[in-house]
């Protein structure tokens, strides 16, 4: 076997949705992981419930590249509808595993790939129940792959055992189906294939988890008690996982009653309204949504900005504009979020790039929201949110206590401290607040989205109005000092820099190595927040050219950089990926190569940190 092919391959399962394939594919993915191998799994599914083509790509990469690769070494072509297209997606020299129960049109076949037919449907004929046939057919192909790719059979049976714990009959039926598939493959083909899996111990204590689940768990740990949301792909599973965790960890043992409240609102306007109402009233509260929901929230977000209400939003971005492609990924809500609402508004955004960061940024978001008294947007995307990722395990410091920000409690009010809602006492642009009901005689104020002066009183006076919105601008400057600093991911000391964020991070790691092999070195900065930190500005300053990579058509991050950071436009070169599929290292390498000229790569004059 050629070096580098062991534990470096992509399997792509092509199925029809609603046929039970996703659990089979998840089993497969997890099996590689349990063999100690880094994986990336991308579920590419249609915006319907049953009967349309769906793909599941599993990349196994001993080198640890867990971005999407794009092409496939082996395609499991279970969907006659997309067969031709699926065959076309195999790398030359690759394989197609297909169901040979019914004869297949050989005209569709390619010469440069090997076709491996097994009668999967035939293998499950003993089940009279049609549902079971559908299900176990999928398990059979997992079994066949076990043989072809040398997947440890015990790992598979172990996973089945965990999944169906206590249901012996189901375990036996599944294991039997696995064995059938495996045995058929062993009988029919030379197993394993030239590329296949070999046990390693690379993943350590890493976990496999979706970004959405991580966000939800982060909210539990941050002490969120209220959530208000409206279902929308790909954000739904944040609220749902939050509900699950709350049901497990937040029910009062004595009374059996809930220490949380989750409202599935009637729409996104109501969801954000309830978030604002609860936040005003002193709860940690969040919502999760995607583009269309964000648009609907704009008016309320302006209120939260101007009346200074902490609110946490998870925007799991999908392909826009409008309904767009709801099951495809993009990073295209940056401007809609950063400047949400009419009038002069600016919002704080966080950009997690891994489940670990999703978990951590939940706490960061609540702390920032309450510290800054403003909405905080955690900008995730479908790829991060809905796909499982190999992630560092979540970590927690039990000494953490929430930063509830500048809130005056009964004791302080009672002591006679003067309180005016919008007064900049500390010079950081952040005023003090009180929760409703705190003190009988002091601390009450009237919150409004209409003109108010620094004392919190209604005004239509120009100077008082200006004084207040100027303070809000200063508060935004404070925000730039409080948000997470960008992460310098590579610093070979190149005159060329590259700036990116979110789900571009994984493929970028791979791309940087690939470019380096081609002799192109780039200093790489991973953005983690808006407004831009000192670090981001310095990074751009220190480089002659900075590539700005984003997953949208209109270079929205670049727009923010130009507008907010006063950067010369010719310095920022856009790399844009916006087809809706996760970006690949190949794409990044190709795009950067198109732009890099020899003259750009002048000898390094000093370390660009």
């Amino acid at each position: 076997m050629p070096v580098g092919r062991c534990n470096e391959f992509v399997v792509r399962c092509a199925n029809v949705n609603g046929t039970g394939s996703s659990s089979a594919n998840a089993l497969l993915a997890r099996a590689f992981y349990r063999m100690g191998l880094p994986i990336a799994a991308k579920n590419i599914f249609p915006s319907n419930i049953q009967g349309l083509p769906t793909w599941y790509e599993i990349r196994v990469s001993e080198a640890g590249y867990t971005g999407r690769r794009g092409s496939a070494d082996l395609v499991v072509a279970m969907n006659p509808q997309s067969f031709e297209e699926d065959v076309a997606s195999v790398c030359p020299g690759g394989y197609v595993l297909y169901d040979s129960t019914k004869s297949i049109n050989t005209a569709r076949k390619r010469d440069d790939v090997t076709f491996l037919g097994l009668p999967f449907m035939g293998m499950v004929q003993q089940h009279t129940n049609q549902r079971k046939r559908l299900l176990f057919k999928n398990i059979c192909y997992v079994g066949a792959l076990a043989a072809l790719l040398a997947i440890d059979f015990d790992v598979l049976t172990g996973l089945i055992g965990e999944q169906f714990k206590g249901k012996e009959r189901l375990i036996n039926q599944n294991v039997e189906a696995l064995a059938r598939g495996r045995d058929a493959a062993l009988a029919a083909f030379t197993c394993p294939l030239d590329f296949h899996a070999e046990r390693r111990d690379i993943v350590g204590d890493k976990i496999l988890v979706t970004g959405n689940r991580a966000c939800a768990l982060g909210c539990v740990y941050a002490g969120a008690t209220v959530a208000a949301w409206y279902p929308i792909t790909p954000s739904t599973s944040i609220a749902e996982a939050f509900g699950e965790y709350c049901a497990r960890f937040r029910v009062d043992e004595a009374s059996g009653r809930n220490k949380f409240a989750i409202v599935q609102a009637e729409d996104e306007l109501a969801a954000i309204g309830s978030v604002i109402g609860a936040a005003w009233n002193g709860a940690r509260v969040f919502t999760a949504t995607s583009g269309p929901g964000l648009s609907l929230m704009s008016e309320f977000l302006g209120l939260a900005y101007y009346a200074e209400i902490p609110a946490v939003l998870f925007d799991v971005q999908r392909t826009g504009p409008s309904t767009g492609m709801p099951t495809r990924t993009q990073q295209s809500d940056l401007i809609a979020a950063a400047y949400a609402s009419h009038g002069d508004t600016k919002h704080v955004l966080l950009f997690p790039s891994s489940p670990k960061e999703c978990f951590e940024f939940a706490t960061v978001a609540f702390d920032l929201a309450e510290r800054l008294q403003t909405p905080i947007f955690v900008m995730s995307d479908l790829d991060l949110g809905m796909n499982i990722w190999l992630s560092e395990p979540f970590a927690w410091d039990d000494s953490y206590r929430p930063d509830r920000g500048k809130v005056l409690d009964y004791a302080v009010l009672e002591s006679g401290t003067s309180f005016y809602r919008y007064l900049d006492v500390d010079g950081d642009g952040i005023p003090y607040r009180t929760y409703p009901g705190t003190h009988p005689a002091r601390g009450a104020y009237f919150t409004r989205g209409s003109g108010h002066d620094k004392y919190g009183f209604y005004t239509e006076d120009s100077a008082k109005y200006r004084e207040n919105v100027d303070r809000l601008r200063r508060k935004f400057e404070t925000a730039a000092r409080l948000v997470p600093e960008a992460a310098l991911e590579a610093a070979p000391g190149s005159p060329l820099g590259i700036l990116y964020f979110g789900t571009t991070a994984e493929p970028m790691r791979e791309a940087l190595e690939g470019l380096s092999q081609r002799g192109i070195e780039l200093d790489a900065l991973r953005l983690r927040a808006f407004p831009f930190t000192e670090g981001v500005l310095r990074f751009i300053e220190c480089h002659d050219t900075v590539f700005v990579v984003e997953q949208n058509r209109d270079a929205q991050l670049r727009t923010l950089l130009l507008a907010e950071a006063g950067i010369a436009p010719e310095k920022l070169v856009s790399i844009l990926h916006y087809g809706g599929l996760p970006v690949t290292a190949d794409f990044l390498i190709g795009s950067i190569l198109e732009h890099v000229t020899p003259s750009m790569q002048r000898p390094t004059t000093g370390a660009a940190s």
């Binding site: 209220v226 009062d252 009374s255 109501a270 604002i276 008016e299 929430p402 409703p436 009450a444």
Partner: protein, 349 residues
């Protein structure tokens, strides 16, 4: 509206409630509404009812949308926190606020534009959830603050100050609330303090969603062209629309339960109120609907407590939330801790 400041010294002779507070302690800032506006009478009734109930003013929260009506929370209960949100979305703000702290008393003030047009969906869903609050609609059939367009509660055929005729049938918020399962449903008239104050007391103590749809004449825009008492008539039909608004007296009525009362509005138009005597079956939704319908056919607007569900469930009961307000739970009681996280990590391997 008057710009003479209220005297700062307190009159020691003012009656006190059991908290030792006077009515003045329940007041707010001076109103900036038109003199005689029905909304101001409602604020006065709210003040009276809260005083009567011995409610600690700071344990109430006032929320509203946008409109003349929505401004009123500034004019009562100055010691309570208030939130003047965006147009039509008070119900969701109130829902969230109530989720965070079930221990406060919530007063939501809305207008007919705020509730029956832009806010209709939120209104309906707040009822459906059973948010524990008083939801007061200060219903004048018009958009006061934007100068007199018809609201969705205006009668078909009524004429606006600009001379337009309303062509759409009105939405009856009381019927809607009954239909959607509201626990406490009442209709009243801003000028009928004797009726309104007890209704507010009832609504504030009702442990669920309580609607008071309160007819509240707009002195400025409830103005029928044809009326000889209207000042449009006097000025000769062609002045700017909102130019002169002569100060007026609020309209008040004083009549017995069970009785019928004709009310003449500022512009000379009339409406007929029928005050419920409390002898109907308060707990029968279908009967309540039939009652409204019967009086409607007679050209009467039924006022009073129309329906009360003694078994009504509020949102927190449905959600089975702990007694302690969620905003008062200690962080230690909320965070599962590092050890649990380790086991969650283990599940994810």
């Amino acid at each position: 509206m008057t710009y003479i400041a209220k005297p700062a010294v307190r009159n020691p002779a003012l009656p006190k409630n059991s908290l030792g507070l006077t009515r003045r302690d329940y007041e707010g800032k001076i109103s900036t509404l038109c003199a005689g506006c029905g909304h101001d009478s409602i604020s006065a009734a709210l003040i009276q009812a809260c005083f009567d109930l011995d409610l600690p003013p700071h344990r109430l929260a006032k929320l509203s949308g946008i409109g003349c009506s929505a401004k009123t929370p500034t004019y009562f209960l100055g010691a309570a926190h208030g939130f003047n949100g965006v147009h039509g979305r008070m119900p969701s703000l109130a829902t969230g606020a109530n989720l965070a702290n079930r221990d406060l008393v919530y007063i939501g003030i809305s207008g007919d534009g705020d509730t029956a047009s832009i806010g209709l969906g939120q209104f309906v869903h707040a009822i459906r959830r059973g948010v524990n609050m008083l939801y007061m609609v200060e219903n004048n059939g018009t958009y006061g603050l934007t100068k007199g367009q018809f609201s969705a509660t205006a009668d078909v055929g009524s004429k606006s100050k600009r001379g337009e005729v309303n062509i759409y049938p009105p939405i009856d918020l009381v019927r809607l609330a009954l239909d959607l399962g509201a626990g406490f449903v009442a209709r009243s008239f801003s000028g009928d303090k004797d009726q309104l104050v007890p209704l507010i007391r009832g609504a504030l103590t009702y442990p669920g969603f309580a609607l008071i749809d309160c007819f509240s004449p707009c002195v400025t825009f409830n103005n029928h062209e044809g009326s000889t008492k209207s000042y449009t008539y006097i000025r000769g039909h062609d002045l700017p629309i909102v130019d002169l608004i002569p100060p007026r007296q609020e309209i008040t009525v004083d009549y017995e339960p069970g009785a019928r009362q004709e009310v003449t509005l500022h512009d000379g138009s009339r409406c007929v109120l029928r005050k419920l005597a409390g002898d109907h079956d308060l707990n029968d939704r279908a009967a309540a609907l039939a009652l409204i319908e019967e009086h409607r056919r007679r050209g009467e607007l039924v006022t009073g407590l129309i329906f009360l569900d003694p078994e009504g469930q509020d949102m927190h009961m449905r959600m089975n939330t702990v007694e302690t307000p969620l905003n008062a739970l200690r962080y230690e009681a909320l965070c599962p801790g590092a050890e649990t996280l380790a086991s969650i990590n283990a599940e994810l391997r």
